[in-house]
């Protein structure tokens, strides 16, 4: 609860700073404020409380995921300084929108009432529509914003209809009352249709096959920092929310629903990886890689009662390596109008440190040991085999091998090719974000219990 109030207050303060002409201080102030909020959130760990007639529930699930989101936002805000150098007058808007987006994300994992869930998802989505189209003179950015807006509000319509049918069946928006009522024998058919529509809407937001077609276009057209936000923060938020939604609404998922999840998971991994193999644009490649990672994360839905910590670990590993990768991509593609792999030629010679970081981040996404991505996949596969889905795990392992293919395409381009031009200037913030993110990634890879024991 305190987290949500603090974050919203921070966003308002950002806007006030602009009025009082204190632009230079916005980013340092926001980072300090977010660190304080992180401390406030961690302080709530272990409590179980609900506020405002059970509108907001604070428990270990919400605290740990909120902390992860705050950490990701700190990285994204730190990257903003160099990225928005050419628009110094708009910096407060960009930062404030990111902070408000974080408040939506926190509301989405700590809801106790479907109204709060709906408001959270809309705050997150509307902030992202604006960020996608924020480069307003660039037609690609406009197009990506428009596509994201159309798909996002289409999905919101489905989510709203789902909430409506659940309300019609149960007569309440409160998730505790709904889950108590859903254990009774007599349930109207609308309830299940409602859950199905809610799931479809959330799968749109996560970009799981067959609801993924918007993702590559939107990721490619959006400004690079927004792509970083979408592929790390927004994806993890939507996944955690779907997990929470399904685990609070109907505790035991039926057999047929599990088959659907298995099929979607396999389709998402396979299509994402195979499409990623033939991409030349790095942002587009990471979009497809994100689709395949969404397929992996979907596997946690099969063992809802026990896999919250696995999901947290996978989400942390994936999103923090994503931040490290995007910090390097932002550095390399600064002042270039595309993000093709040719831009990365010879990075290993011109800038060995950042090349090493990008290599580490990609190896983590691919699942190579000592990076946390490997352990995330290990725990996930272990758990899924114990639940009895051997075929799914075999497909997932094959997909991990395929994914190494396109990650190595980028790594080989960095080390094997000659550099096209010398790069000047060393933005210290890109360096520090990239290095800190990869160090966090390795640390939670070496000591997985740091994250796994949180829940």
């Amino acid at each position: 609860m305190n987290t949500l109030i603090a974050i919203t207050g921070l966003g308002v303060l950002c806007l006030l700073f602009e009025i009082f002409n204190f632009r230079k201080g916005i980013i340092p102030f926001t980072i300090v404020g977010l660190l304080a909020t992180l401390a406030l959130t961690v302080n709530d760990y272990g409590t179980n409380a609900s506020f405002y007639n059970n509108m907001i529930v604070v428990n270990n699930f919400s605290v740990t995921f909120s902390s992860l989101f705050i950490v990701l936002t700190i990285f994204l805000v730190a990257l903003s300084h160099n990225f928005y150098e050419s628009h110094p007058t708009k910096i407060s808007d960009f930062i404030a929108i990111k902070i408000f987006m974080l408040s939506g994300a926190v509301a989405m994992v700590s809801f106790g009432n479907l109204a709060m869930f709906f408001l959270g998802i809309e705050i997150l989505s509307i902030a992202l529509y604006i960020l996608c189209a924020s480069d307003r003179l660039n037609l690609k950015s406009n197009e990506s914003g428009m596509k994201y807006f159309l798909m996002g509000s289409f999905a919101s319509g489905f989510i709203l209809f789902g909430i409506c049918l659940v309300y019609g069946a149960m007569g309440s928006f409160d998730v505790i009352e709904i889950s108590e009522l859903s254990r009774s024998a007599e349930l109207p058919d609308w309830f299940f249709i409602g859950i199905l529509l809610l799931t479809i809407g959330m799968l749109f937001k996560i970009a799981v096959v067959p609801f993924h077609f918007w993702a590559p276009d939107v990721y490619e057209g959006a400004p690079a920092l927004t792509t970083a936000t979408m592929s790390t923060l927004a994806k993890v938020v939507a996944m955690a929310t779907l997990f929470k939604l399904l685990s609070v609404l109907n505790a035991d998922i039926s057999e047929s629903f599990q088959i659907v999840i298995v099929v979607l998971s396999i389709a998402s991994m396979t299509v994402g990886n195979i499409m990623a193999l033939r991409q030349v644009n790095v942002k587009r490649m990471l979009a497809f890689s994100g689709i395949s990672h969404a397929g992996f994360m979907l596997m946690t839905l099969l063992t809802l009662t026990t896999s919250a910590s696995t999901l947290l670990y996978y989400a942390a590993a994936y999103s923090i390596s994503g931040i490290a990768a995007f910090a390097v991509i932002l550095y390399v593609c600064k002042n270039r109008d595309n993000e093709d792999i040719t831009n990365f030629h010879g990075l290993g010679k011109t800038n060995p440190l950042l090349a090493a970081v990008l290599t580490g981040a990609l190896l983590s996404m691919g699942g190579i040991p000592i990076f946390s991505g490997f352990f995330a996949k290990l725990f996930l596969f272990n758990q899924t085999i114990e639940a009895g889905y051997l075929v799914l795990v075999i497909v997932a392992v094959v997909n991990s091998i395929i994914s190494i293919g396109y990650y190595f395409k980028l790594i080989l381009a960095m080390y094997g090719k000659e550099p096209n031009e010398e790069k000047t200037g060393t933005p210290i913030l890109y360096y520090s974000v990239a290095v800190v993110a990869i160090v966090i990634n390795i640390v939670i890879g070496l000591f997985p219990s740091l994250v796994l024991d949180l829940m």
């Binding site: 604006i130 003179l137 037609l139 406009n142 914003g145 289409f154 319509g157 709203l160 409506c164």
Partner: protein, 106 residues
């Protein structure tokens, strides 16, 4: 109010809302003019609002009507952002046909 709902039956409200929702979905999928696509999204959301109010009366519970306020406010915010994006597109492209938006492919 209750007697009217009893006479008509809650099912008919559901059928009406589903029909309106489907009209909205097909509008989004088939129309090419961005303004009409926006209107179709509004039809989808308002179909749901209608059903919220019907269920609210059916359950004799005010929460559903309060939720409609939330969803109307959110829909207004969403369309404001959408129209802003549309204005940006019109300035760059001179047209609001969503079929023109196909620069991103791969």
């Amino acid at each position: 109010m209750d007697s009217v709902l009893n006479q008509i039956g809650i099912e008919n409200y559901i059928f009406l809302s589903v029909a309106l929702f489907c009209i909205g979905v097909f509008g989004v999928l088939y129309r090419r003019n961005a303004i009409i696509v926006f209107m179709s999204i509004e039809i989808m959301l308002n179909a749901v609002n209608l059903l919220f109010v019907a269920f609210s009366t059916y359950h004799q519970d005010a929460q559903g009507q309060v939720f409609v306020f939330f969803s109307m406010a959110v829909a207004a915010a969403e369309v404001a952002v959408g129209l802003a994006i549309l204005v940006a597109i019109f300035r760059n492209l001179g047209s609001i046909d969503v079929a023109n938006l196909k620069n991103l492919k791969g």
